[in-house]
Symmetry: C3
Subunit: 210 residues, 3 copies
Protein backbone atom coordinates (compact mmCIF):
# COMPACT_ATOMS: atom_id res chain seq x y z
CA UNK A 1 0.00 0.00 0.00
CA UNK A 2 1.12 3.50 -0.79
CA UNK A 3 -0.01 5.54 2.16
CA UNK A 4 -0.70 9.22 2.45
CA UNK A 5 1.74 11.02 4.81
CA UNK A 6 -1.13 11.52 7.25
CA UNK A 7 -1.76 7.76 7.35
CA UNK A 8 1.94 7.08 7.73
CA UNK A 9 1.98 9.30 10.79
CA UNK A 10 -0.93 7.35 12.30
CA UNK A 11 0.76 4.09 11.41
CA UNK A 12 4.01 5.09 13.05
CA UNK A 13 2.08 6.18 16.13
CA UNK A 14 0.13 2.93 16.23
CA UNK A 15 3.23 0.79 15.81
CA UNK A 16 5.02 2.68 18.56
CA UNK A 17 2.02 2.30 20.86
CA UNK A 18 1.68 -1.43 20.20
CA UNK A 19 5.42 -2.01 20.64
CA UNK A 20 5.33 0.03 23.85
CA UNK A 21 2.54 -2.10 25.30
CA UNK A 22 4.68 -5.20 24.75
CA UNK A 23 7.78 -3.51 26.06
CA UNK A 24 6.05 -2.43 29.27
CA UNK A 25 4.49 -5.85 29.84
CA UNK A 26 7.86 -7.57 29.32
CA UNK A 27 9.66 -5.25 31.73
CA UNK A 28 6.96 -6.03 34.32
CA UNK A 29 7.82 -9.72 33.93
CA UNK A 30 11.47 -8.74 34.53
CA UNK A 31 12.61 -10.15 31.20
CA UNK A 32 16.08 -9.52 29.83
CA UNK A 33 16.73 -7.39 26.73
CA UNK A 34 16.07 -10.28 24.36
CA UNK A 35 12.71 -10.94 25.95
CA UNK A 36 11.78 -7.26 25.91
CA UNK A 37 12.64 -6.96 22.23
CA UNK A 38 10.81 -10.18 21.31
CA UNK A 39 7.63 -9.25 23.14
CA UNK A 40 7.69 -5.67 21.81
CA UNK A 41 8.25 -7.00 18.29
CA UNK A 42 5.43 -9.54 18.53
CA UNK A 43 3.06 -6.94 19.99
CA UNK A 44 3.75 -4.52 17.15
CA UNK A 45 3.86 -6.94 14.21
CA UNK A 46 2.06 -10.09 15.40
CA UNK A 47 -1.36 -9.03 14.14
CA UNK A 48 -0.20 -8.13 10.65
CA UNK A 49 1.98 -11.22 10.42
CA UNK A 50 -0.81 -13.61 11.34
CA UNK A 51 -3.08 -11.84 8.84
CA UNK A 52 -0.43 -12.25 6.13
CA UNK A 53 0.07 -15.93 6.98
CA UNK A 54 -3.69 -16.52 6.84
CA UNK A 55 -3.93 -14.69 3.50
CA UNK A 56 -0.65 -16.19 2.27
CA UNK A 57 0.89 -12.79 1.53
CA UNK A 58 4.63 -12.17 1.32
CA UNK A 59 6.78 -10.28 2.06
CA UNK A 60 5.64 -9.26 5.49
CA UNK A 61 4.98 -5.66 6.39
CA UNK A 62 8.07 -5.50 8.65
CA UNK A 63 10.33 -7.07 6.02
CA UNK A 64 9.19 -4.62 3.36
CA UNK A 65 9.48 -1.66 5.72
CA UNK A 66 12.57 -2.40 7.72
CA UNK A 67 12.63 1.03 9.31
CA UNK A 68 9.91 -0.26 11.65
CA UNK A 69 12.26 -2.97 12.86
CA UNK A 70 14.93 -0.39 13.57
CA UNK A 71 12.35 1.76 15.32
CA UNK A 72 11.39 -1.02 17.72
CA UNK A 73 15.04 -1.88 18.25
CA UNK A 74 15.81 1.75 19.09
CA UNK A 75 12.89 1.88 21.50
CA UNK A 76 14.14 -1.20 23.32
CA UNK A 77 17.75 -0.01 23.47
CA UNK A 78 16.77 3.38 24.87
CA UNK A 79 14.21 2.02 27.34
CA UNK A 80 16.25 2.93 30.46
CA UNK A 81 16.24 6.58 29.32
CA UNK A 82 12.49 7.11 29.17
CA UNK A 83 10.56 4.29 30.82
CA UNK A 84 10.48 5.85 34.29
CA UNK A 85 9.51 9.26 32.94
CA UNK A 86 6.81 7.73 30.81
CA UNK A 87 5.36 5.86 33.75
CA UNK A 88 5.34 8.90 36.03
CA UNK A 89 4.43 11.73 33.69
CA UNK A 90 2.88 10.83 30.34
CA UNK A 91 1.59 7.49 31.46
CA UNK A 92 -1.88 6.34 30.58
CA UNK A 93 -3.35 9.08 28.41
CA UNK A 94 -0.79 9.31 25.63
CA UNK A 95 -0.51 5.53 25.50
CA UNK A 96 -4.28 5.07 25.30
CA UNK A 97 -4.49 7.61 22.51
CA UNK A 98 -1.69 6.09 20.46
CA UNK A 99 -3.04 2.61 21.04
CA UNK A 100 -6.51 3.67 19.84
CA UNK A 101 -4.91 5.12 16.68
CA UNK A 102 -3.08 1.84 16.11
CA UNK A 103 -6.30 -0.09 16.66
CA UNK A 104 -8.13 1.90 13.99
CA UNK A 105 -5.35 1.87 11.44
CA UNK A 106 -4.44 -1.79 11.85
CA UNK A 107 -8.10 -2.85 11.68
CA UNK A 108 -8.83 -0.95 8.46
CA UNK A 109 -5.53 -1.97 6.86
CA UNK A 110 -6.38 -5.61 7.64
CA UNK A 111 -9.85 -5.31 6.13
CA UNK A 112 -8.51 -3.47 3.05
CA UNK A 113 -5.92 -6.13 2.39
CA UNK A 114 -8.44 -8.95 2.85
CA UNK A 115 -10.88 -7.31 0.42
CA UNK A 116 -8.05 -6.82 -2.07
CA UNK A 117 -7.41 -10.58 -1.76
CA UNK A 118 -11.05 -11.19 -2.75
CA UNK A 119 -12.11 -12.39 0.65
CA UNK A 120 -15.83 -12.27 1.47
CA UNK A 121 -17.07 -9.50 3.77
CA UNK A 122 -17.32 -11.59 6.93
CA UNK A 123 -13.73 -12.81 6.51
CA UNK A 124 -12.52 -9.27 5.74
CA UNK A 125 -14.03 -8.05 9.00
CA UNK A 126 -12.39 -10.91 10.87
CA UNK A 127 -9.04 -10.12 9.27
CA UNK A 128 -9.42 -6.51 10.35
CA UNK A 129 -10.04 -7.57 13.93
CA UNK A 130 -7.23 -10.16 13.83
CA UNK A 131 -4.77 -7.54 12.56
CA UNK A 132 -5.81 -5.18 15.34
CA UNK A 133 -5.84 -7.59 18.27
CA UNK A 134 -3.49 -10.46 17.54
CA UNK A 135 -0.35 -8.58 18.50
CA UNK A 136 -1.80 -8.09 21.97
CA UNK A 137 -3.00 -11.68 22.17
CA UNK A 138 0.48 -12.99 21.29
CA UNK A 139 2.06 -10.60 23.79
CA UNK A 140 -0.12 -11.99 26.57
CA UNK A 141 0.46 -15.62 25.55
CA UNK A 142 4.24 -15.05 25.64
CA UNK A 143 3.88 -13.36 29.04
CA UNK A 144 1.80 -16.33 30.27
CA UNK A 145 -1.41 -14.35 30.83
CA UNK A 146 -4.98 -14.80 29.64
CA UNK A 147 -5.23 -12.34 26.69
CA UNK A 148 -6.40 -9.01 28.11
CA UNK A 149 -8.44 -8.25 25.01
CA UNK A 150 -10.65 -11.23 25.87
CA UNK A 151 -10.87 -10.76 29.59
CA UNK A 152 -10.52 -7.13 30.69
CA UNK A 153 -14.07 -6.42 29.49
CA UNK A 154 -13.20 -3.11 27.90
CA UNK A 155 -14.43 -2.75 24.31
CA UNK A 156 -11.49 -3.15 21.94
CA UNK A 157 -12.12 -5.78 19.28
CA UNK A 158 -15.69 -4.45 19.17
CA UNK A 159 -14.37 -1.01 18.17
CA UNK A 160 -12.19 -2.62 15.49
CA UNK A 161 -15.22 -4.55 14.23
CA UNK A 162 -17.35 -1.41 14.14
CA UNK A 163 -14.66 0.50 12.23
CA UNK A 164 -14.32 -2.32 9.70
CA UNK A 165 -18.09 -2.36 9.27
CA UNK A 166 -18.19 1.39 8.61
CA UNK A 167 -15.33 1.09 6.12
CA UNK A 168 -16.86 -1.85 4.25
CA UNK A 169 -20.31 -0.25 4.02
CA UNK A 170 -18.93 3.08 2.77
CA UNK A 171 -16.71 1.25 0.31
CA UNK A 172 -19.62 -0.86 -0.93
CA UNK A 173 -21.81 2.17 -1.61
CA UNK A 174 -19.07 3.57 -3.80
CA UNK A 175 -17.40 6.31 -1.78
CA UNK A 176 -13.79 7.00 -2.80
CA UNK A 177 -11.24 4.87 -0.93
CA UNK A 178 -9.59 7.69 1.07
CA UNK A 179 -12.96 8.71 2.51
CA UNK A 180 -14.12 5.21 3.40
CA UNK A 181 -10.69 4.39 4.84
CA UNK A 182 -10.49 7.50 7.00
CA UNK A 183 -14.09 7.09 8.15
CA UNK A 184 -13.44 3.50 9.18
CA UNK A 185 -10.30 4.45 11.08
CA UNK A 186 -12.10 7.34 12.76
CA UNK A 187 -15.00 5.07 13.72
CA UNK A 188 -12.75 2.46 15.33
CA UNK A 189 -10.42 4.92 17.02
CA UNK A 190 -13.26 7.21 18.06
CA UNK A 191 -15.42 4.53 19.68
CA UNK A 192 -12.36 3.21 21.48
CA UNK A 193 -11.51 6.67 22.85
CA UNK A 194 -15.14 7.19 23.92
CA UNK A 195 -15.22 3.77 25.59
CA UNK A 196 -12.03 4.58 27.50
CA UNK A 197 -13.19 8.08 28.45
CA UNK A 198 -16.56 6.84 29.74
CA UNK A 199 -15.02 3.68 31.25
CA UNK A 200 -17.54 1.48 29.45
CA UNK A 201 -17.34 -2.24 30.29
CA UNK A 202 -18.64 -5.28 28.47
CA UNK A 203 -20.21 -7.91 30.71
CA UNK A 204 -18.92 -11.44 30.94
CA UNK A 205 -20.69 -13.52 28.29
CA UNK A 206 -23.20 -14.82 29.21
CA UNK A 207 -23.83 -12.41 32.07
CA UNK A 208 -23.44 -13.90 35.54
CA UNK A 209 -26.81 -15.23 36.67
CA UNK A 210 -28.05 -15.71 33.15
CA UNK B 1 -13.61 -32.40 -0.63
CA UNK B 2 -17.10 -33.27 -1.77
CA UNK B 3 -18.59 -35.00 1.18
CA UNK B 4 -21.47 -37.41 1.38
CA UNK B 5 -24.49 -35.98 3.30
CA UNK B 6 -23.80 -38.48 6.07
CA UNK B 7 -20.25 -37.15 6.45
CA UNK B 8 -21.51 -33.57 6.37
CA UNK B 9 -23.78 -34.37 9.29
CA UNK B 10 -20.83 -35.78 11.26
CA UNK B 11 -18.74 -32.76 10.32
CA UNK B 12 -21.37 -30.30 11.48
CA UNK B 13 -21.72 -32.24 14.73
CA UNK B 14 -17.97 -32.28 15.25
CA UNK B 15 -17.58 -28.59 14.52
CA UNK B 16 -20.40 -27.74 16.94
CA UNK B 17 -18.85 -29.93 19.61
CA UNK B 18 -15.39 -28.41 19.17
CA UNK B 19 -16.77 -24.86 19.17
CA UNK B 20 -18.83 -25.68 22.25
CA UNK B 21 -15.78 -26.90 24.15
CA UNK B 22 -14.09 -23.55 23.49
CA UNK B 23 -17.21 -21.60 24.30
CA UNK B 24 -17.66 -23.35 27.65
CA UNK B 25 -13.99 -22.94 28.58
CA UNK B 26 -14.09 -19.22 27.72
CA UNK B 27 -17.24 -18.62 29.77
CA UNK B 28 -15.52 -20.32 32.72
CA UNK B 29 -12.71 -17.78 32.39
CA UNK B 30 -15.42 -15.05 32.47
CA UNK B 31 -14.38 -13.65 29.08
CA UNK B 32 -16.50 -11.10 27.24
CA UNK B 33 -18.32 -11.88 24.00
CA UNK B 34 -15.23 -11.22 21.86
CA UNK B 35 -13.18 -13.65 23.92
CA UNK B 36 -15.91 -16.29 23.82
CA UNK B 37 -16.18 -16.02 20.04
CA UNK B 38 -12.42 -16.08 19.53
CA UNK B 39 -11.85 -19.12 21.70
CA UNK B 40 -14.84 -20.96 20.20
CA UNK B 41 -13.58 -20.14 16.72
CA UNK B 42 -10.03 -21.28 17.43
CA UNK B 43 -11.28 -24.49 19.07
CA UNK B 44 -13.40 -25.35 16.04
CA UNK B 45 -11.05 -24.32 13.23
CA UNK B 46 -7.59 -24.20 14.80
CA UNK B 47 -6.68 -27.79 13.96
CA UNK B 48 -7.64 -27.55 10.30
CA UNK B 49 -6.03 -24.14 9.94
CA UNK B 50 -2.68 -25.27 11.34
CA UNK B 51 -2.82 -28.32 9.07
CA UNK B 52 -3.47 -26.08 6.06
CA UNK B 53 -0.64 -23.73 7.02
CA UNK B 54 1.73 -26.70 7.40
CA UNK B 55 0.64 -28.12 4.03
CA UNK B 56 0.45 -24.63 2.46
CA UNK B 57 -3.17 -25.09 1.36
CA UNK B 58 -5.52 -22.19 0.64
CA UNK B 59 -8.29 -21.21 0.99
CA UNK B 60 -8.97 -22.41 4.49
CA UNK B 61 -11.86 -24.70 5.27
CA UNK B 62 -13.75 -21.92 7.11
CA UNK B 63 -13.23 -19.40 4.29
CA UNK B 64 -14.50 -21.85 1.68
CA UNK B 65 -17.44 -22.88 3.84
CA UNK B 66 -18.54 -19.66 5.46
CA UNK B 67 -21.70 -21.19 6.84
CA UNK B 68 -19.51 -22.69 9.58
CA UNK B 69 -18.44 -19.19 10.60
CA UNK B 70 -22.06 -18.10 10.84
CA UNK B 71 -22.86 -21.25 12.80
CA UNK B 72 -20.22 -20.49 15.42
CA UNK B 73 -21.34 -16.86 15.53
CA UNK B 74 -24.94 -17.92 16.08
CA UNK B 75 -23.87 -20.30 18.84
CA UNK B 76 -22.01 -17.52 20.64
CA UNK B 77 -24.83 -14.98 20.26
CA UNK B 78 -27.44 -17.40 21.62
CA UNK B 79 -25.27 -18.71 24.46
CA UNK B 80 -27.40 -17.14 27.23
CA UNK B 81 -30.42 -19.07 25.94
CA UNK B 82 -29.02 -22.57 26.22
CA UNK B 83 -25.82 -22.70 28.26
CA UNK B 84 -27.50 -23.24 31.62
CA UNK B 85 -29.85 -25.90 30.23
CA UNK B 86 -26.95 -27.65 28.57
CA UNK B 87 -24.94 -27.72 31.75
CA UNK B 88 -27.80 -29.04 33.85
CA UNK B 89 -29.59 -31.43 31.52
CA UNK B 90 -27.69 -32.64 28.47
CA UNK B 91 -24.30 -32.03 29.91
CA UNK B 92 -21.49 -34.48 29.53
CA UNK B 93 -22.88 -37.33 27.45
CA UNK B 94 -24.05 -35.47 24.35
CA UNK B 95 -20.89 -33.35 24.37
CA UNK B 96 -18.63 -36.38 24.68
CA UNK B 97 -20.42 -38.09 21.82
CA UNK B 98 -20.28 -35.09 19.50
CA UNK B 99 -16.66 -34.46 20.41
CA UNK B 100 -15.75 -38.08 19.62
CA UNK B 101 -17.43 -37.71 16.21
CA UNK B 102 -15.45 -34.54 15.58
CA UNK B 103 -12.27 -36.31 16.64
CA UNK B 104 -12.80 -39.12 14.13
CA UNK B 105 -13.85 -36.92 11.25
CA UNK B 106 -11.17 -34.27 11.71
CA UNK B 107 -8.45 -36.90 12.07
CA UNK B 108 -9.36 -38.77 8.89
CA UNK B 109 -9.94 -35.56 6.92
CA UNK B 110 -6.47 -34.41 7.99
CA UNK B 111 -4.85 -37.68 6.94
CA UNK B 112 -6.75 -37.71 3.63
CA UNK B 113 -5.67 -34.19 2.75
CA UNK B 114 -2.04 -34.92 3.68
CA UNK B 115 -1.99 -38.07 1.52
CA UNK B 116 -3.53 -36.11 -1.35
CA UNK B 117 -0.63 -33.64 -0.94
CA UNK B 118 1.81 -36.55 -1.40
CA UNK B 119 3.00 -36.57 2.17
CA UNK B 120 4.63 -39.75 3.47
CA UNK B 121 2.59 -42.01 5.75
CA UNK B 122 4.16 -40.90 9.02
CA UNK B 123 3.50 -37.24 8.20
CA UNK B 124 -0.07 -38.04 7.10
CA UNK B 125 -0.73 -39.65 10.46
CA UNK B 126 0.73 -36.64 12.24
CA UNK B 127 -1.43 -34.29 10.19
CA UNK B 128 -4.50 -36.32 11.12
CA UNK B 129 -3.65 -36.02 14.79
CA UNK B 130 -2.79 -32.31 14.47
CA UNK B 131 -6.12 -31.61 12.76
CA UNK B 132 -7.96 -33.43 15.53
CA UNK B 133 -6.18 -32.00 18.56
CA UNK B 134 -4.78 -28.59 17.67
CA UNK B 135 -8.04 -26.74 18.13
CA UNK B 136 -8.14 -27.93 21.72
CA UNK B 137 -4.45 -27.17 22.26
CA UNK B 138 -4.93 -23.58 20.99
CA UNK B 139 -8.04 -23.19 23.15
CA UNK B 140 -6.08 -24.14 26.25
CA UNK B 141 -3.11 -21.91 25.34
CA UNK B 142 -5.48 -18.92 24.92
CA UNK B 143 -7.12 -19.78 28.25
CA UNK B 144 -3.67 -19.99 29.88
CA UNK B 145 -3.86 -23.69 30.75
CA UNK B 146 -1.60 -26.65 30.06
CA UNK B 147 -3.29 -28.36 27.05
CA UNK B 148 -5.74 -30.92 28.44
CA UNK B 149 -5.05 -33.33 25.60
CA UNK B 150 -1.48 -33.66 26.88
CA UNK B 151 -2.19 -33.76 30.58
CA UNK B 152 -5.61 -35.20 31.44
CA UNK B 153 -4.35 -38.71 30.67
CA UNK B 154 -7.47 -39.77 28.80
CA UNK B 155 -6.79 -41.31 25.39
CA UNK B 156 -7.62 -38.79 22.70
CA UNK B 157 -4.76 -38.24 20.28
CA UNK B 158 -4.14 -41.99 20.55
CA UNK B 159 -7.65 -42.66 19.21
CA UNK B 160 -7.04 -40.21 16.36
CA UNK B 161 -3.75 -41.98 15.60
CA UNK B 162 -5.40 -45.40 15.65
CA UNK B 163 -8.16 -44.20 13.31
CA UNK B 164 -5.61 -42.71 10.91
CA UNK B 165 -3.68 -45.98 10.98
CA UNK B 166 -6.80 -48.01 10.14
CA UNK B 167 -7.66 -45.61 7.33
CA UNK B 168 -4.18 -45.63 5.80
CA UNK B 169 -3.82 -49.43 5.95
CA UNK B 170 -7.25 -50.01 4.38
CA UNK B 171 -6.49 -47.41 1.74
CA UNK B 172 -3.09 -48.97 1.00
CA UNK B 173 -4.56 -52.45 0.46
CA UNK B 174 -6.88 -50.96 -2.14
CA UNK B 175 -10.29 -50.72 -0.49
CA UNK B 176 -12.55 -48.04 -2.01
CA UNK B 177 -12.18 -44.62 -0.40
CA UNK B 178 -15.65 -44.43 1.22
CA UNK B 179 -15.02 -47.70 3.05
CA UNK B 180 -11.53 -46.86 4.27
CA UNK B 181 -12.68 -43.38 5.28
CA UNK B 182 -15.68 -44.56 7.24
CA UNK B 183 -13.69 -47.37 8.87
CA UNK B 184 -11.03 -44.91 9.97
CA UNK B 185 -13.60 -42.52 11.40
CA UNK B 186 -15.39 -45.38 13.15
CA UNK B 187 -12.11 -46.65 14.59
CA UNK B 188 -11.12 -43.24 16.01
CA UNK B 189 -14.59 -42.32 17.29
CA UNK B 190 -15.29 -45.83 18.55
CA UNK B 191 -12.09 -46.22 20.56
CA UNK B 192 -12.65 -42.76 22.03
CA UNK B 193 -16.19 -43.64 23.10
CA UNK B 194 -14.98 -46.93 24.60
CA UNK B 195 -12.16 -45.14 26.44
CA UNK B 196 -14.64 -42.62 27.86
CA UNK B 197 -17.20 -45.30 28.80
CA UNK B 198 -14.62 -47.47 30.57
CA UNK B 199 -12.82 -44.44 32.03
CA UNK B 200 -9.47 -45.66 30.66
CA UNK B 201 -6.44 -43.54 31.66
CA UNK B 202 -2.99 -43.32 30.18
CA UNK B 203 -0.18 -43.18 32.72
CA UNK B 204 2.21 -40.27 32.97
CA UNK B 205 5.19 -40.99 30.69
CA UNK B 206 7.42 -42.43 31.98
CA UNK B 207 5.32 -43.94 34.75
CA UNK B 208 6.03 -42.57 38.22
CA UNK B 209 8.68 -44.70 39.85
CA UNK B 210 10.14 -45.85 36.57
CA UNK C 1 21.12 -28.09 2.08
CA UNK C 2 23.73 -30.74 1.48
CA UNK C 3 25.66 -30.88 4.69
CA UNK C 4 29.13 -32.14 5.37
CA UNK C 5 29.17 -35.27 7.61
CA UNK C 6 30.68 -33.15 10.38
CA UNK C 7 27.75 -30.74 10.21
CA UNK C 8 25.28 -33.62 10.14
CA UNK C 9 26.77 -34.91 13.37
CA UNK C 10 26.32 -31.49 14.98
CA UNK C 11 22.78 -31.29 13.62
CA UNK C 12 21.83 -34.67 15.00
CA UNK C 13 23.31 -33.71 18.35
CA UNK C 14 21.45 -30.41 18.37
CA UNK C 15 18.15 -31.99 17.43
CA UNK C 16 18.54 -34.61 20.13
CA UNK C 17 19.37 -31.95 22.69
CA UNK C 18 16.42 -29.76 21.73
CA UNK C 19 14.02 -32.73 21.73
CA UNK C 20 15.41 -33.81 25.08
CA UNK C 21 14.75 -30.43 26.63
CA UNK C 22 11.11 -30.70 25.59
CA UNK C 23 10.88 -34.29 26.71
CA UNK C 24 12.24 -33.50 30.16
CA UNK C 25 9.98 -30.46 30.59
CA UNK C 26 6.90 -32.49 29.56
CA UNK C 27 7.71 -35.33 31.97
CA UNK C 28 8.02 -32.73 34.74
CA UNK C 29 4.48 -31.61 33.93
CA UNK C 30 3.44 -35.30 34.21
CA UNK C 31 2.11 -35.40 30.67
CA UNK C 32 1.13 -38.66 28.99
CA UNK C 33 3.06 -40.13 26.06
CA UNK C 34 1.20 -37.98 23.50
CA UNK C 35 2.06 -34.82 25.39
CA UNK C 36 5.69 -35.85 25.79
CA UNK C 37 6.02 -36.57 22.07
CA UNK C 38 4.27 -33.33 21.08
CA UNK C 39 6.37 -31.14 23.31
CA UNK C 40 9.61 -32.91 22.30
CA UNK C 41 8.65 -32.55 18.65
CA UNK C 42 7.82 -28.86 18.96
CA UNK C 43 11.02 -28.19 20.90
CA UNK C 44 13.14 -29.85 18.21
CA UNK C 45 11.40 -28.59 15.08
CA UNK C 46 9.40 -25.51 16.18
CA UNK C 47 12.16 -23.03 15.40
CA UNK C 48 12.84 -24.29 11.90
CA UNK C 49 9.12 -24.63 11.16
CA UNK C 50 8.31 -21.05 12.17
CA UNK C 51 11.26 -19.85 10.08
CA UNK C 52 9.98 -21.80 7.08
CA UNK C 53 6.45 -20.44 7.54
CA UNK C 54 7.82 -16.88 7.77
CA UNK C 55 9.95 -17.42 4.64
CA UNK C 56 7.19 -19.47 2.94
CA UNK C 57 9.47 -22.45 2.35
CA UNK C 58 8.18 -25.97 1.80
CA UNK C 59 8.66 -28.84 2.44
CA UNK C 60 9.66 -28.51 6.06
CA UNK C 61 12.96 -29.82 7.32
CA UNK C 62 11.29 -32.66 9.26
CA UNK C 63 9.19 -33.71 6.27
CA UNK C 64 12.21 -33.81 3.97
CA UNK C 65 14.30 -35.66 6.54
CA UNK C 66 11.89 -38.06 8.12
CA UNK C 67 14.60 -39.91 9.98
CA UNK C 68 14.53 -37.02 12.49
CA UNK C 69 10.86 -37.75 13.19
CA UNK C 70 11.70 -41.41 13.83
CA UNK C 71 14.58 -40.34 16.03
CA UNK C 72 12.34 -38.22 18.26
CA UNK C 73 9.73 -40.98 18.33
CA UNK C 74 12.37 -43.51 19.38
CA UNK C 75 13.61 -41.15 22.09
CA UNK C 76 10.11 -40.79 23.50
CA UNK C 77 9.34 -44.51 23.37
CA UNK C 78 12.57 -45.44 25.15
CA UNK C 79 12.32 -42.67 27.75
CA UNK C 80 11.72 -45.06 30.68
CA UNK C 81 15.02 -46.80 29.88
CA UNK C 82 17.31 -43.82 30.16
CA UNK C 83 15.62 -40.82 31.79
CA UNK C 84 16.58 -41.72 35.35
CA UNK C 85 20.15 -42.54 34.41
CA UNK C 86 20.44 -39.33 32.47
CA UNK C 87 19.18 -37.29 35.37
CA UNK C 88 21.51 -38.93 37.89
CA UNK C 89 24.67 -39.46 35.90
CA UNK C 90 25.11 -37.48 32.70
CA UNK C 91 22.77 -34.72 33.68
CA UNK C 92 23.55 -31.12 33.09
CA UNK C 93 26.92 -31.06 31.36
CA UNK C 94 26.23 -33.25 28.34
CA UNK C 95 22.84 -31.60 27.85
CA UNK C 96 24.31 -28.11 28.01
CA UNK C 97 26.97 -29.04 25.50
CA UNK C 98 24.54 -30.61 23.02
CA UNK C 99 22.12 -27.72 23.45
CA UNK C 100 24.89 -25.20 22.72
CA UNK C 101 25.78 -27.12 19.54
CA UNK C 102 22.13 -27.06 18.50
CA UNK C 103 21.98 -23.34 19.22
CA UNK C 104 24.93 -22.61 16.94
CA UNK C 105 23.86 -24.88 14.12
CA UNK C 106 20.21 -23.86 14.10
CA UNK C 107 21.12 -20.15 14.23
CA UNK C 108 23.53 -20.29 11.30
CA UNK C 109 21.24 -22.57 9.26
CA UNK C 110 18.43 -20.06 9.79
CA UNK C 111 20.58 -17.12 8.72
CA UNK C 112 21.91 -19.04 5.69
CA UNK C 113 18.42 -19.94 4.51
CA UNK C 114 17.18 -16.36 4.99
CA UNK C 115 20.11 -14.94 3.01
CA UNK C 116 19.47 -17.51 0.27
CA UNK C 117 15.88 -16.21 0.17
CA UNK C 118 17.27 -12.69 -0.46
CA UNK C 119 16.29 -11.34 2.91
CA UNK C 120 18.11 -8.23 4.14
CA UNK C 121 20.80 -8.65 6.78
CA UNK C 122 18.71 -7.55 9.76
CA UNK C 123 15.97 -10.03 8.85
CA UNK C 124 18.53 -12.81 8.27
CA UNK C 125 19.89 -12.27 11.76
CA UNK C 126 16.38 -12.36 13.19
CA UNK C 127 15.62 -15.57 11.31
CA UNK C 128 18.79 -17.12 12.74
CA UNK C 129 17.70 -16.21 16.25
CA UNK C 130 14.11 -17.36 15.63
CA UNK C 131 15.33 -20.73 14.34
CA UNK C 132 17.50 -21.15 17.40
CA UNK C 133 15.06 -20.07 20.10
CA UNK C 134 11.52 -20.63 18.87
CA UNK C 135 11.47 -24.34 19.65
CA UNK C 136 12.16 -23.51 23.28
CA UNK C 137 9.64 -20.67 23.30
CA UNK C 138 6.91 -22.99 21.93
CA UNK C 139 7.85 -25.67 24.44
CA UNK C 140 7.39 -23.23 27.32
CA UNK C 141 4.10 -21.87 25.92
CA UNK C 142 2.73 -25.43 25.66
CA UNK C 143 3.90 -26.12 29.21
CA UNK C 144 2.22 -22.91 30.38
CA UNK C 145 5.41 -21.14 31.45
CA UNK C 146 6.94 -17.77 30.61
CA UNK C 147 9.57 -18.64 27.95
CA UNK C 148 12.83 -19.38 29.77
CA UNK C 149 14.89 -17.81 27.01
CA UNK C 150 13.29 -14.46 27.83
CA UNK C 151 13.32 -14.71 31.59
CA UNK C 152 16.14 -16.87 32.95
CA UNK C 153 18.63 -14.10 32.19
CA UNK C 154 21.29 -16.40 30.82
CA UNK C 155 22.66 -15.34 27.42
CA UNK C 156 21.19 -17.56 24.74
CA UNK C 157 19.57 -15.57 21.95
CA UNK C 158 22.49 -13.15 22.33
CA UNK C 159 24.93 -15.95 21.49
CA UNK C 160 22.83 -16.90 18.46
CA UNK C 161 22.82 -13.26 17.37
CA UNK C 162 26.58 -12.98 17.80
CA UNK C 163 27.16 -16.16 15.79
CA UNK C 164 24.89 -14.91 12.99
CA UNK C 165 26.75 -11.61 12.98
CA UNK C 166 30.12 -13.36 12.65
CA UNK C 167 28.78 -15.56 9.86
CA UNK C 168 27.25 -12.67 7.91
CA UNK C 169 30.34 -10.46 8.20
CA UNK C 170 32.71 -13.26 7.12
CA UNK C 171 30.36 -14.16 4.28
CA UNK C 172 30.12 -10.51 3.18
CA UNK C 173 33.91 -10.09 3.01
CA UNK C 174 34.03 -13.06 0.67
CA UNK C 175 35.32 -15.96 2.73
CA UNK C 176 34.30 -19.39 1.40
CA UNK C 177 30.97 -20.62 2.77
CA UNK C 178 32.34 -23.57 4.82
CA UNK C 179 34.67 -21.23 6.71
CA UNK C 180 32.08 -18.53 7.41
CA UNK C 181 29.52 -21.18 8.39
CA UNK C 182 31.82 -23.00 10.77
CA UNK C 183 33.09 -19.74 12.27
CA UNK C 184 29.53 -18.57 12.89
CA UNK C 185 28.58 -21.85 14.54
CA UNK C 186 31.72 -21.82 16.63
CA UNK C 187 31.05 -18.22 17.69
CA UNK C 188 27.48 -18.95 18.81
CA UNK C 189 28.25 -22.27 20.47
CA UNK C 190 31.49 -21.02 21.99
CA UNK C 191 30.04 -17.89 23.59
CA UNK C 192 27.16 -19.97 24.94
CA UNK C 193 29.55 -22.48 26.51
CA UNK C 194 31.63 -19.66 27.99
CA UNK C 195 28.51 -17.98 29.37
CA UNK C 196 27.39 -21.24 30.98
CA UNK C 197 30.86 -22.02 32.35
CA UNK C 198 31.28 -18.55 33.88
CA UNK C 199 27.60 -18.39 34.94
CA UNK C 200 27.17 -15.03 33.23
CA UNK C 201 23.76 -13.39 33.72
CA UNK C 202 22.01 -10.65 31.79
CA UNK C 203 20.23 -8.08 33.93
CA UNK C 204 16.50 -7.44 33.70
CA UNK C 205 15.92 -4.73 31.10
CA UNK C 206 15.91 -1.97 32.16
CA UNK C 207 17.93 -2.76 35.26
CA UNK C 208 16.01 -2.52 38.53
CA UNK C 209 16.36 1.00 39.90
CA UNK C 210 17.03 2.49 36.51
Amino acid sequence: MNLHPFLIAIEVGGTIAFAMSGLIEATRKRMDIVGVFSVAFVSAFGGGTVRDILLDRRPFFWIQNQEYLWLVLAMVLTTPLWLKTLRHKLGGHVMEFADACGLGLFAISGATIALAADMPVLVAMMMGVVTAIFGGVSRDVLCNEVPKVYSDHRPYAMCALFGCGVFIVLDAIGLPLPISTLSGIAAATGTRLIAVALDIRLPAWPKPGE
